[in-house]
Symmetry: C2
Subunit: 244 residues, 2 copies
Amino acid sequence: MGDIETASLGTCAHRRATAACVHCRARAFSVCAALPDEDLHRLDAIAEHIVVEPGQVLTREGEAQTSVFNITSGSARAYKLTPDGRRQITGFLFAGDFVSLSDQPNHVATVEAVEPLTACRFRKADWRALMAQRRDLEGALLARAGDELAAAQSQMLLLGRKTAIERLASFLTALPANDPARPLPAGHIRLPMTRTEIADYLGLTLETVSRTFGRLKRQGILREANRHDVEVLDEKRLHALADG
Amino acid sequence: MGDIETASLGTCAHRRATAACVHCRARAFSVCAALPDEDLHRLDAIAEHIVVEPGQVLTREGEAQTSVFNITSGSARAYKLTPDGRRQITGFLFAGDFVSLSDQPNHVATVEAVEPLTACRFRKADWRALMAQRRDLEGALLARAGDELAAAQSQMLLLGRKTAIERLASFLTALPANDPARPLPAGHIRLPMTRTEIADYLGLTLETVSRTFGRLKRQGILREANRHDVEVLDEKRLHALADG
DNA sequence: CGTTCTCTTGACCAGCATCAAAATTTGTGG
DNA sequence: CCACAAATTTTGATGCTGGTCAAGAGAACG
């Protein structure tokens, strides 16, 4: 099932980068949008800009939650493991996504970069202080949490009740337009993740994912430019499959 | 898989009941705890106390979200359906639980009473106005949403990667102490729901749930007083199974 | 280019679903 | 309190989807 290899990240293994919130391309898609321009300096003051290489960890399941993150570019996977190494990816994250919406004492999932990734890191105390002052942030976070909760319930329906082909179709239709900062031509989907990762997200094996891609291609619903770029030829049938 | 029968609820089919927040037994477990005693009258002013019979609906998936609810006693199930009727129960709700944490324009799940249930219903506009005034409520809601999100991720691991016996063990250990208002002796678990409902929650069939209960009993981990009350004889082994 | 990682394809298998029927519990009316 | 009907659960026989094991074909990277 899902084995994983993680290039762990030392305390300050991130490379620092600089940027200002005013020019942040992810701002429009993130909770930061709740802050008016004149308050952005408050964010800048407490944000640490980090660069994370593929496979490196932002948060590790079970570890104390000392920071929260806002992804500004790239993509990441969040997952949980069973003691014997089975992996369930609970979500893929893109620019604008917030890491640690669930404010628990310890992280409930591990989050690793899939592609090279940049993010803002906030010390939890700093973030809390800012939230206390600018309550709109809290509202934005609550709205985001609500969206995540709705998505989580759809994923439960998928994992509990859908067939392999329905799962893959759902994945391809529901995938957040991938990277809001880098839109693609309609009908084109970018899949930065591997077949194994798709499998671990859909509760399948990589072999089943591969065979199921084959089925969708043979049915004329899909075409694969290469492993990471697919084109939807029959949107209608794909959606019909996705709904179950 | 999961067929369902719903006794639908007319516009004002709920029986009204009266109660005051000060005396509410569910208050300690609910978001209302964020409000100090002196502000409770604000809640009372906008709360409509309703009584819901088993099988009746609080919210229906897809319908406009005009109200939010706070359950004060009894239990409910939240679920989603595929067009062909497969059901996935996304959660069981008990006293203190808030219905519609995800503030979407339309309900993302159907919520029905399992047992006779009482709840506070708030018109969404009223609730929003109160939240705007008493920001602590928003914080409590955010905290609750975070807990739900964490639980949802655990459920994804369960649905995507665990075996039947691991799923049932997880269910029995993770089940919220059932009804916080009605504590049971340690090791005793009350299951207000049917086997079919457990199956639809765990992504299994009722037959598999039944057989798996049998396995747990034969292994000396469980004893069944009756269908709705079980006793855990070997907590250690149950937890070991649950973790996977 | 060769090494390594990822993906595809095939053969076989197992866990859980499906179909079916019997047993037990629950509910109802007398 | 009993008898009967309906609903729920248990148990059994069989089958299918997707998992496992294995080998080979592409891509990617140095």
